[in-house]
Each structure stands twice: as structure tokens, then as C-alpha cells.
């Protein structure tokens, strides 16, 4: 692979010694990495979010200078989705997706479940296998000079099941104000706000909104999804593995089966690992493998279990 660093481009100056870096940046392929692996449920939700967002009008207008052009759009007068004056022909799936997927996203977990079912019937994609996710837990959020306030304990929790606010791209209809949450705001509005806050890295604001969904819509799929999202925030961004563990356990109690259960069980394993609780982690991994033997994460869980049992 040394040619990648030496480069055969005659316009480049060859850098001596770059062979040592061969393999550091391999060409893009279907192997896993460097994006972190995701649990199947999260991948499914991401697909649902993408489809819903693509079908929905953008929440923010994309300044033309910021909208990504498709390669052909910049080279030919072909219809471009990024040209406001030449709106892309709306496809038949747009209204369908708007109705089905947006609604599914609003209902929370429904999106993941529906998407998965649809995908099960779809032509088998042979893409890179859904990445078995590693147990990666972000350390406590980068702390300012002041000691961070203790994260609020999780009561209920969520997952990004949003109709993702999309700012890149396309033909920009007039800007739509971000949904304002009122006391009677539907779950969809709250989730949209929570997702936007997460996107803005306002972790605590996002968490508060997710917990609000979980509390106000207790018992619904949206509440469970929100519970999971909140737990993930606590684990990955708020440095609160204990709170995350509690959140995952609540979600699991509410939906022990299906993809939500899979995500909750995996989260429990991640949280116990972050807490340094090896026995708890092993128990969580065993429970995960028993309940979801066919999960894309099952091989990683078994490997981790083996490592735990062989380590002193």
C-alpha cells in the first residue's frame, strides 16, 4: 500500500519515509472503521431518520453557498436537488415516506421496528455488515475549569428517533421555525428539539427533553426510545455510567423484547464495563447473547466474554 503515501501523482513531491505510514489511511472500502460500530437498533433508527429527513422539507434553509452540490449538478445543467430554482422532481416515495416514516419516527420506536421489518423484506443489501459495536464509552464530558454539576439522574429515557433536522442540502423552502415545546407539545416536537439539542452538543438540554418525553408519554414506544437516548447521553457524554445503567434497565423493563431490548441489554453491558464491574458486565453480556444470539453484536459480546473469563 506504500503507493498511497508515495503517490504516483507526478505533481506531488514524494515524502521520504512515508512508507512507514503505509496502511495508516487505507482507501475507503467495506471493512469496519474508523466510524465506531453501532448496535443494529441504532443503525436501523439512523436509516429511518435518513429516509424521513430526506422526505421531509428541511427545517432550516440551506444557504446556497452551504448546500452541497452533487457532482453532476456542478458540471451539467441536469436537475439538481441543491438548486432552489430547479427543485428535484419529487419521487413517489416522498409522500409515502413522509407519511409512513415521519409518523413512525414520531411514534418513536416504531421507526426502528418498522424499518427493520421493511428491511427484512427488502432485497438483501450486501453492504458492510452492520458493524458489531464495540464497547466504547466516552469519558466524562470535557470538563471546564469548574467541577461539572452532577448529571441529573435518569428517570426515563430516549433515543434519537428524530425526523432529523437537516441543514445540508437541497432545495430550500422557506425556513421553518424549530418546534417549540409547550406543555401539550406532542412527542414528535419534543423529540425534534431533543435531537437538535444533541446535534448542538447541548447534552444536558437534550437529556432534559428526552426525559420529558419519557415522563409525559410513559408507556409509549416513544418513551422507551427516549429512555434509551437519555441513557446513551449519560454514558457517552455526561460521564454518568451509573445513571446510564439505571436508564438502560428501565428501558429493558419496559420493552424486554425486540430491537429496543437488544439496545437496552447492550447498553447495560457498556455501562457496567464503564463502571469497572467485570462480573456485572459478564452477566450482562451473557444475558445479551442468550436473548439475542443472532445479533450483529453477538460475536463481539462472545469475544468480550471470553476475554473477561480468561483475564485474571
Amino acid at each position: 500500500m506504500s503507493h498511497r503515501f508515495e503517490t504516483d501523482d507526478a505533481t506531488l513531491v514524494r515524502e521520504p519515509g512515508v512508507d512507514a505510514l503505509a496502511g495508516v489511511m487505507p482507501k475507503l472500502d467495506d471493512e469496519p472503521g474508523p466510524a465506531r460500530r453501532l448496535p443494529t437498533a441504532r443503525t436501523s433508527r439512523m436509516v429511518a431518520d435518513i429516509l424521513a429527513a430526506a422526505a421531509a422539507p428541511p427545517l432550516e434553509s440551506a444557504a446556497s453557498s452551504e448546500a452541497p452540490e452533487t457532482p453532476e449538478a456542478s458540471e451539467a445543467p441536469a436537475p439538481s436537488t441543491t438548486t432552489a430554482s430547479a427543485p428535484a422532481p419529487r419521487k413517489r416515495w416522498v409522500p409515502l415516506l413522509a407519511a409512513a416514516l415521519v409518523a413512525a419516527a414520531v411514534v418513536g420506536a416504531g421507526a426502528a421496528v418498522i424499518t427493520t421489518r421493511l428491511m427484512a423484506r427488502a432485497p438483501a443489501p450486501q453492504a458492510a455488515p452492520p458493524a458489531p459495536s464495540p464497547i466504547e464509552v466516552a469519558p466524562p464530558a470535557p470538563s471546564p475549569s469548574v467541577a461539572p454539576p452532577a448529571p441529573a439522574p435518569i428517570e426515563v429515557a430516549p433515543t434519537p428517533t428524530e425526523v432529523a433536522p437537516i441543514d445540508v442540502a437541497p432545495p430550500a423552502p422557506p425556513p421553518r421555525p424549530r418546534p417549540v415545546a409547550t406543555d401539550d407539545a406532542p412527542a414528535a416536537d419534543l423529540l425534534a428539539r431533543a435531537n437538535q439539542a444533541r446535534k448542538d452538543r447541548a447534552w444536558r438540554d437534550a437529556d432534559a427533553l428526552y426525559r420529558r418525553v419519557a415522563t409525559r408519554f410513559a408507556g409509549s414506544d416513544a418513551a422507551v426510545v427516549a429512555q434509551l437516548a437519555s441513557a446513551t447521553l449519560h454514558l457517552e457524554h455526561l460521564g454518568d455510567a451509573r445513571g446510564a445503567l439505571a436508564g438502560y434497565r428501565r428501558a429493558l423493563a419496559a420493552r424486554p423484547g425486540g430491537e429496543l431490548g437488544e439496545e437496552a441489554r447492550w447498553g447495560i453491558a457498556e455501562a457496567t464495563r464503564a463502571l469497572g464491574d467485570r462480573a456485572g458486565e459478564a452477566a450482562a453480556l451473557r444475558a445479551f447473547v442468550d436473548a439475542h444470539p443472532g445479533s450483529a453484536l453477538a460475536p463481539a459480546a462472545r469475544r468480550r466474554l471470553a476475554a473477561l473469563s480468561s483475564a485474571p
Binding site: 498511497r4 503515501f5 501523482d9 506531488l12 513531491v13 515524502e15 512515508v18 505510514l21 495508516v24 489511511m25 487505507p26 482507501k27 475507503l28 469496519p32 472503521g33 474508523p34 466510524a35 465506531r36 443503525t43 436509516v47 431518520d49 429516509l51 429527513a53 430526506a54 452541497p68 452533487t70 457532482p71 453532476e72 449538478a73 451539467a76 441536469a78 436537475p79 439538481s80 436537488t81 441543491t82 428535484a88 422532481p89 416515495w93 409515502l96 421493511l118 427488502a122 432485497p123 453492504a127 464495540p134 466504547e136 464509552v137 466516552a138 469519558p139 464530558a141 432529523a164 437537516i166 441543514d167 445540508v168 442540502a169 437541497p170 446535534k199 448542538d200 452538543r201 457517552e236 469475544r303
Partner: protein, 192 residues
């Protein structure tokens, strides 16, 4: 959109899926998104620091790809086209993010619990690669990724980034030098 550029030639599975998706087949679209998502997530992660932002930007890139399907004319491979759209969407997203706040620079997501598979494996090596890339200035990082990961030539990079040829070349050279220094530097401690 034409999904194949060679009349009479058999359509590849991907081409057929692209054509069906662009024609309104919802299942084909879902399958296409599902198939493409891992690649785009990886590409975006090469380009940006931090896993959380990478996923948000990857999602935006995927939306841009889906919305851009009608403009894909079937010249070249679909994945190459999708890569370009993703790169542009990512740069647009980064520009917006920069205006809103300083770009994240912690790379904190990587200094976490090691992957259970343990090195050496492809995944671990690539995570290590982006950890090195996280130490580069954005302008050098982007040029390096476009050249080494996507295989773009310097003129193509200059065109893609709208910068002079010499600037692209200079960034590439500086980036490689910096990357080598980071690669050869002793570990600074902390978790892998």
C-alpha cells in the same frame, strides 16, 4: 437518472437498486441507504473529529445523497458519486458548525474503553488512524483524506476544495509530514 452508462450492458446489483430507488421504489431506497451508510459513516469519520459529530454529519450526508439521486447520471460508479456528495455535504456541515461554535477538538470518543476485539484488527487500526488524523489541522486533514482515502489527485482536490493547486499540494505535503511525526511520536499516555 440513468443507472447504467453502457447501453445493453447488464446492470449491476447496485445500479439496479439505484435506478429502482430513484424511480420511487421505497424498499430499494431503504436497501440502498442501509448498504451505503457504513461506508459514508467511515468516510465522514475520516474527515471530522469526534464520533458524535461524525454520525450527525454522516446522517446529513446520507440525506444529501438520497435527495441527489435524481441528479446522478450514472457516469462512473455510484459509490464514487456518493462519496463526492458526502464530502461536499460534510464540508458544508462543518462550515455551519464552525459558525455556530468552535470546532470540537477533543477526540474524546476515542480515548475510551478499548474495543473488545483488541488490536490488531482492521477496526482498531482504523480507529488509530483517525486518532492520528485528529491531531492535524482541518485543512491538512481534508486534503490527506481526499487523496489517500478517496484517491483524488491533487488537481481534483484543488477543484473539490476550491483552492489553488499549489495550496492543495502544500497542504498535502505538510499534512504528510505532520502525520508522520505524530505516527512516530511516543505515546503520550492515557487509554488507547
Amino acid at each position: 437518472m440513468r443507472a447504467t452508462s453502457v447501453p445493453g450492458s447488464p446492470m449491476s446489483a447496485v445500479d439496479a437498486r439505484v435506478a429502482a430507488a430513484a424511480a420511487g421504489d421505497r424498499r430499494a431506497l431503504e436497501a440502498l441507504v442501509t448498504e451505503l451508510l457504513p461506508r459514508i459513516r467511515n468516510l465522514v469519520r475520516y474527515l471530522v473529529r469526534g464520533d458524535a459529530d461524525a454520525d450527525d454529519l454522516a446522517q446529513e450526508a446520507m440525506v444529501a445523497i438520497v435527495r441527489g439521486l435524481p441528479s446522478h447520471r450514472g457516469e462512473g460508479t455510484f459509490t464514487a458519486w456518493a462519496d463526492r456528495v458526502a464530502v461536499r455535504a460534510t464540508f458544508a456541515g462543518l462550515r455551519k458548525a464552525r459558525r455556530a461554535r468552535a470546532q470540537l477538538d477533543d477526540g474524546a470518543d476515542l480515548t475510551s474503553v478499548p474495543h473488545p476485539d483488541g488490536p490488531p484488527d482492521v477496526y482498531a487500526q482504523r480507529r488509530a488512524a483517525v486518532r492520528l488524523l485528529d491531531g492535524l489541522p482541518d485543512d491538512q486533514r481534508h486534503v490527506l483524506v481526499l487523496h489517500h482515502v478517496l484517491g483524488l489527485s491533487v488537481p481534483e482536490i484543488a477543484d473539490e476544495l476550491a483552492i489553488p493547486f499549489e495550496t492543495a499540494r502544500s497542504r498535502l505535503r505538510l499534512g504528510m509530514t505532520r502525520l508522520r511525526a505524530l505516527h512516530d511520536a511516543p505515546p503520550t499516555g492515557g487509554r488507547p
